[in-house]
């Protein structure tokens, strides 16, 4: 059994990273080109890593299933990116960003990693500006900031409502420059389906060429996974359609530990479902809750139109339950409250939606002010729903949005499998049980631009890993297993479609492993997931062949991993007998409904080792809080 060593450097928190950078081994510039590095994923984390490693002189192979590096899911991030620049002179600092992130994560993140993240945050902004990222500016020509939840300072940098797009295009431009120079080779439309581990270390990957169906093998001295999060296990989420867990899951099955799988974030302000055909959910900015009032009818199954429901028959439940925070209660609390009233049958016309009403604000401030504040959001709403939110209230509902859990990594962002590094949303490292807004973009770029270039050198110079060629028998063995799996999927020829089964899995996950969980539901979920998985292997239909573009086959391959990951999420949630951040166990709450964290017994990272079908061993990494004292979150 591998021992979990987080490799946190000694010393004061503010000196750990500086000292570690000095102590790490270096690769001589002339030797760098002798090292091959595989980077899977071209989102913020992957593109920034591949570009930076290429600039240093390594031989980088960069993979994505998209047709272009620029399409990665990071492109869709809207709100912004945090950095403790303190340009607003409002008291921000490295320590404050560190503090806010540890507290926001409900004391389930590793202090040393979070502090490093806060330290390098300022460099990210400088880097992006130098690349020509058109951040918003004020009239003096300096960078503008906005505020975001979980912080009392204004530290969020943004580029209109397209921050993720602009940061990604910046990182991809750096990547493209290295492609032009020949230090990075891009492999597009390739889906990584397995990693190759030889003598305990990661030596390469096996991918499917999505155009030809060919199974291809690639070797390297080290492998970096920057493949994003797994919210699509719920079928419906705010993530892009093709986001999936296959890369990290297959790595998990080859030995990499999966940390805190049950820590998922449900965003309160998304557009509700319109019907069974719904393919994904759209996020609406949280800022709407500044002026909108959330309510439902007091009656069950009230079929009246909202404007026909009189004031005294409405329940402004957030204002009622949380008088001081009201409509601005934090993400997890607002999300849970919405689900509760809908489960009682009091959602919009008995369905899964609540009203977000601007009529009071419009009466108070005038339509013009509301238009200035939220005009573009109202337009988006109208494009999608066909309804005018100035006239009748918006309808919203919570949706899965981000996954804090991911592959376990040490301080160097290396998994327990030597040579396998994990960056961005794919790892578990910095957000604990809950991520603050505008911190995912920061983490992805911190990992890629400013952490991996150092820690990769240390691994290559320190461990001196050998390069194994792809004609090694282990590569053939893994490639054959991948081919067999494809053939097996295509041979089932049953009746139910991939999406139909995925939707059913999504419903199980949403109702029993979603934003409120309990022992009974979790145990049922495990049984139901297993049953569904068995049904899939007997009764799924995947038309088309394996030697050609086959999108149905691609989706099926991703779904088989979701069954197993979904089960592990339930197993993890069941093991964690406490409520913290995005993990809410209904058995563990205070009388007023607040989450009851149990620091005495659960102040650890759960790192799960795959031990065969439906079996996992738990390893615990204890968390020590030396600099931020754990306290109860309260929003009354």
């Amino acid at each position: 059994m591998t021992k979990l060593d987080s490799k946190i450097p000694a010393g004061n928190i503010s000196e750990k990273w500086t000292n570690h950078k000095f102590n790490m081994k270096l690769v001589n510039p002339a030797n760098k080109r002798k090292f091959d590095i595989i980077v899977v994923g071209t989102g913020l984390a992957g593109a920034s890593a591949a570009a930076s490693l290429g600039e240093l002189g390594y031989n980088v192979k960069s993979f994505t299933f998209h047709d272009s590096a620029r399409r990665a899911h990071s492109i869709a991030a809207q709100g912004g990116i945090n950095a403790s620049k303190n340009y607003q002179n409002d008291g921000d600092s490295t320590f404050r960003l560190f503090y806010d992130t540890v507290k926001g994560g409900d004391f389930r993140a590793r202090e040393a990693n979070v502090h490093r993240l806060a330290e390098v945050s300022t460099n990210i902004i400088d880097q992006c500006v130098a690349q020509g990222v058109p951040f918003a500016r004020d009239y003096g020509g300096l960078l503008d900031n906005r505020s975001f939840g979980g912080a009392q300072v204004s530290r969020t940098f943004y580029a209109r409502g397209q921050t993720g797009q602009q940061l990604l295009l910046g990182a991809v431009s750096a990547l493209n420059r290295q492609v032009d120079k020949g230090s990075v080779k891009l492999y597009l439309r390739r889906e990584m389906l397995d990693i190759v581990v030889i003598d305990g270390a990661a030596k390469g990957i096996v991918v499917r060429n999505l155009l030809t169906g060919e199974i291809e093998k690639y070797s390297a001295h080290a492998v970096v996974l920057a493949t994003g999060g797994y919210s699509n296990v719920f079928f419906l989420s705010t993530n892009a359609m093709n986001c999936n867990a296959t890369a990290i899951w297959r790595a998990h099955k080859r030995g990499a530990y999966f940390a805190n799988p049950c820590f998922t974030q449900i965003h309160p302000t998304c557009l509700p479902l319109h019907g069974d055909a719904q393919s994904k959910l759209t996020l609406m900015s949280e800022s709407l809750r500044n002026d909108g009032r959330v309510w439902v009818s007091k009656k069950k199954g009230d079929m009246r139109n909202p404007t026909d429901i009189p004031e005294d028959e409405r329940d402004y439940y957030l204002e009622r339950k949380y008088p001081s925070f009201g409509n601005l209660a934090p993400r997890d609390i607002s999300s849970r409250a919405a689900k509760e009233v809908c489960d009682e049958g009091r959602g919009v016309k008995g369905g899964d939606a609540v009203y977000l009403d601007f009529s009071d604000a419009i009466n108070r401030l005038g339509q013009k002010v509301i238009e200035e504040r939220y005009g573009n959001l109202f337009e988006i709403y109208e494009t999608i729903t066909g309804e005018n939110p100035y006239k009748s209230p918006m309808m919203i509902y919570p949706a899965p949005h981000y996954t804090m859990g991911g592959l376990w990594v040490d301080y160097n962002l290396m998994s327990n499998v030597p040579g396998l590094f994990v960056l961005g949303e794919a790892n578990f490292s910095d957000h604990g049980a809950n991520r603050l807004g505008a911190s995912a973009l920061m983490q992805g770029l911190a990992d890629g631009y400013f952490v991996i270039p150092y820690t990769m050198g240390n691994y290559l110079a320190g461990d001196k890993p050998a390069l194994v060629k792809t004609d090694h028998p282990e590569f053939d063995k893994v490639a054959n297993e991948v081919k067999d799996l494809t053939d097996k999927l295509l041979s089932i020829k049953g009746k139910r479609t991939v999406d139909d089964i995925h939707k059913e899995l999504g419903r199980i996950m949403w109702h029993k492993v979603g934003m409120a969980r309990n022992e009974k539901g979790l145990k049922e979920a495990i049984e139901e997931i297993r049953r569904l998985k068995t049904e899939f292997w007997k009764n799924v239909t995947i038309p088309g062949s394996g030697d050609d573009v086959n999108q149905t086959l691609e989706r099926a391959g991703r779904l088989i991993d979701y069954f197993e990951l979904g089960e592990l999420m339930a197993v993890d949630a069941l093991e964690r007998n406490e409520s913290c951040g995005g993990h809410f166990r209904t058995e563990y709450q205070f009388e007023d409904g607040e989450a009851k964290r149990d620091d005495a017994n659960y102040s650890y990272v759960s790192a799960w080792e795959f031990a065969g079908e439906n079996k996992w061993n738990l390893h615990k990494e204890d968390l020590n809080f030396e600099y931020v004292k754990p306290a109860i979150r309260s929003y009354k």
């Binding site: 930076s52 620029r70 130098a130 020509g132 500016r137 004020d138 892009a240 019907g275 393919s279």
Partner: protein
């Protein structure tokens, strides 16, 4: 909450592979007006798959109009009948009950069809790789506030940078010109101080690759701007042409 369904006839382009001959196939559907156009295609695919037939291949990812992956020609118009949206943002309530809809892939010599409605737009990346960047390495960059940038200039640069790389401009153009796409990137950097050092070399390198890849020339019909989901302005093309002329002079001066 579901509204009355629409009955539609769809004629969708089916093509097995790049080399094979394609044709339209007819599908009758009933769809909720609240569904998006792509969700309607998902539903058709679900029905086809249940019958053991191959799905209609089309691409999409974000379904929010930002990744640029989707892109269909609907009733002859790239991204369909509404202005300033991508295909994924089009909803069925914009169609009438009983309507017949034609669905095709983007068509351009530089965008060969891969399968059904999927095309290969990798030419765009080749152009960007030729010079669509500022040559700075990671680290060692000056403070973000070192060089003030006037708000209106930053805003113009952002207007240009908003391009999602979807290729509708090429599909809309009778010459299959990529000028709108290329000029958007060239303009973003030409407007910002960070882009100045390589301004004239960049435009020459990018235009050279654009020409080599078989994109057509621009004859100022502005069909591109009309179909662009992000409203990228043709003034970017004028700016790029200016810079291209300047580049000829400047880069010669350097050579001499």
């Amino acid at each position: 909450m579901e509204a009355k369904k629409l009955n539609l006839t769809l004629n969708i382009w089916r093509q097995k592979s790049a080399g094979s001959v394609g044709s339209f196939a007819e599908y009758k559907v009933q769809v909720s007006p609240d569904a998006s156009f792509l969700e309607m295609l998902d539903e058709i695919n679900n029905t086809l798959e249940a019958k053991g037939e191959e799905a209609i291949h089309f691409e999409s990812d974000c379904r929010e109009g930002i990744c640029g992956t989707c892109g269909l020609v609907i009733n002859g118009q790239p991204h369909g009948p509404l202005p300033k949206i991508a295909t994924c943002q089009l909803h069925m309530r914009n169609f009438k009950d009983g309507e017949t809809i034609w669905v095709e892939p983007f068509r351009a010599k530089a965008f060969p069809v891969i399968k059904d409605l999927m095309v290969d737009r990798s030419g765009f990346d080749k152009i960007l790789q030729a010079g669509g960047y500022v040559s700075v390495n990671t680290g060692g960059t000056p403070d973000g506030n070192m060089i003030p940038i006037p708000k209106d200039i930053a805003s113009l640069a952002m207007d240009a940078a908003a391009c999602i790389g979807c290729g509708a401009c090429v599909a809309a153009c009778k010459n299959a010109s990529a000028m709108l796409f290329v000029s958007a990137k060239v303009s973003q950097y030409a407007l910002l101080p960070q882009g100045q050092p390589e301004r004239y070399i960049r435009v020459e390198k990018m235009v050279k690759v654009m020409d080599e890849l078989g994109f057509g020339s621009c004859t100022n019909t502005y069909a591109c701007e009309a179909e662009c989901p992000k409203g990228i302005s043709v003034t970017n093309i004028a700016r790029m042409n200016r810079d291209f002329m300047m580049a000829k002079i400047k880069n010669k001066e350097v050579e001499v």
